[in-house]
């Protein structure tokens, strides 16, 4: 572990110091091992990377950070970048405005809406699975995990699914800069411009219509109000942009780890085929065990002592939710994948007021993917002996490639 003492020009109260960039790509699974190692060695660290920030590793502190938004602002969610070039709404908005924005979009992603959308999402999923099934092999990431959540998200937002080809590279380029890598910043800026221009045109096309278009998110925003006034263009663009970025990349990442797990655990594949009623609990366990958010950042709003550390106003903190979700202090058999785990109170969709808006959509997509894939391709394995790689923890962990192979019966 690259933990070594560095000169730090402030009093750290004996807190261990590290100097670590979490962004670089690693062999698959390394980030969870690192989070566990850090968690068991100390509840808190000071990382001298970038401007310097605190790292909290255990379940209790991570939960308290999420649940104390008055002390931990979402103004920045990347601790290495306290003043980001983007503004996500409602992600980076604090009380009292945050809930007003959430009220506008919560119904759009509610379980009821997902019930209504389920059959069309299932049809999309089935078509993609049947398309790859006959080939006997695919790179699961590009062949399915990128395509299904993108098309499902565009479909529930009322956007032409053929625009998926535009969104996929934008999302890739955005996250190349999200982890703080200066080499990725230019691509990140260009991707943001591309997404904004897309939405500017979409809003322009819908503006001035008498009522909202059925099932059309951009049109819904044009007809929504905030404190009895219409939303501004800037607000609508900030909302639509984050929905694209959060909706496409996260589910793609979780699908990758879910299907890597199924490819390497034939007993779990069999169990889910024989007992499909376990699919929801298996999905929740994936969200706990394979939490793709390495950590969540927040900005400290006032000087305070927190879990034994003296924080100052303006400090950044990094809550390692990936490690917290495997903390043996909070879960029994925390380091095991328990497919029928009961009472799984994981924080895979975060906690507190910023609970993932798309949680119900993501959960539904993951369940549908398992159901439809196992129905057509019940047995499959990883097609390579080479080590799989994952993108760094600066953004979301995600498998860069997952080659799968299966027998095709004619």
């Amino acid at each position: 572990m690259a933990t070594h003492p560095e000169a730090v020009d402030r009093e750290l109260g004996g807190c261990p110091v590290m100097h670590r960039d979490f962004a670089p790509e690693q062999p698959a699974g390394c980030h969870w091992e690192l989070a566990a190692e850090l968690r068991e060695a100390s509840p808190a660290y000071f990382n001298t990377y970038a401007q310097g920030y605190w790292v909290f590793t255990r379940h209790d502190a991570v939960r308290d950070i999420y649940k104390t938004p008055e002390l931990f602002s979402s103004e920045s969610i990347t601790p290495w970048q306290p003043d980001p070039i983007y503004r996500f709404v409602p992600t980076q908005i604090d009380a009292p405005d945050h809930i007003k924005y959430r009220r506008i979009v919560n119904p759009w992603f509610s379980p009821r809406e997902m019930d209504a959308a389920e059959e069309s999402m299932r049809a999309l999923c089935r078509r993609l699975v049947e398309e790859v099934a006959v080939t006997g092999r695919c790179d699961f990431v590009t062949g399915f995990a990128l395509r299904f959540p993108t098309e499902a998200f565009l479909s529930v937002s009322g956007i032409d699914p053929s625009d998926a080809d535009l969104f996929v590279p934008w999302v890739e380029d955005f996250f190349s800069g999200f982890g703080g890598d200066p080499a990725g910043l230019e691509a990140m800026g260009k991707a943001l411009d591309g997404i904004r221009e897309y939405w500017v045109a979409a809003l322009e096309e819908r503006r001035g219509e008498a009522g909202p278009r059925e099932g059309d998110l951009a049109s819904h925003l044009l007809h929504s109000t905030f404190d009895d006034r219409p939303l501004t263009d800037a607000e609508m663009l900030d909302m639509l942009t984050v929905l694209v970025l959060a909706g496409l990349d996260t589910t793609r990442a979780t699908l990758g780890y879910l299907f890597r797990h199924l490819a390497t655990h034939p007993e779990h594949r069999r169990r889910l085929i024989e007992e499909p009623e376990l699919i929801p609990s298996a999905v929740e366990e994936v969200l706990r065990y394979y939490t793709i958010i390495f950590g969540d950042g927040r900005k400290v709003t006032r000087d305070t002592e927190f879990h034994g550390v003296q924080l100052k106003q303006g400090d950044m903190v990094y809550a390692l939710v990936s490690g917290a979700n495997r903390d043996p202090r909070a879960y029994e058999r925390a380091d095991e994948f328990v497919i029928d785990r009961k009472r799984n109170h994981h924080m895979g969709f975060a906690n507190g007021p910023h609970r993932c808006l798309g949680a119900h959509l993501a959960r539904r997509e993951l369940q549908l993917a398992v159901e439809e894939w196992l129905r057509v391709i019940p047995d499959f394995r990883i097609a390579t002996d080479e080590e799989l790689r994952e993108r760094g923890g600066g953004a979301m962990m995600t498998l860069t490639s997952l080659p799968l192979v299966w027998d095709v019966t004619s």
């Binding site: 919560n106 509610s110 379980p111 009961k342 009472r343 799984n344 109170h345 924080m347 609970r355």
Partner: protein
């Protein structure tokens, strides 16, 4: 047994009404409908109620005797 929901803590994760579909349901935004309320738990729903309490990521659900 009774089940109480702390409305300030509930964030609409949707786990409770997934665990106890015959006891709890959701509103248009995805929150449980009985925020800041206490309900009686019928005898055949005791286990479902305990599952809902243990599954809530916000610890918003409390079971009362």
């Amino acid at each position: 047994m009774r089940l109480a929901v702390d409305g300030t803590s509930c964030m609409g994760h949707g786990r409770c009404y997934q665990m106890a579909p015959d006891l709890l349901s959701c509103d248009d935004e995805g929150y449980v409908t009985i925020r800041d309320q206490t309900i009686d738990v019928p005898g055949d729903q005791l286990e479902a109620a305990e599952d809902a309490e243990g599954t809530c990521p916000e610890q918003a659900i409390t079971l009362l005797p």
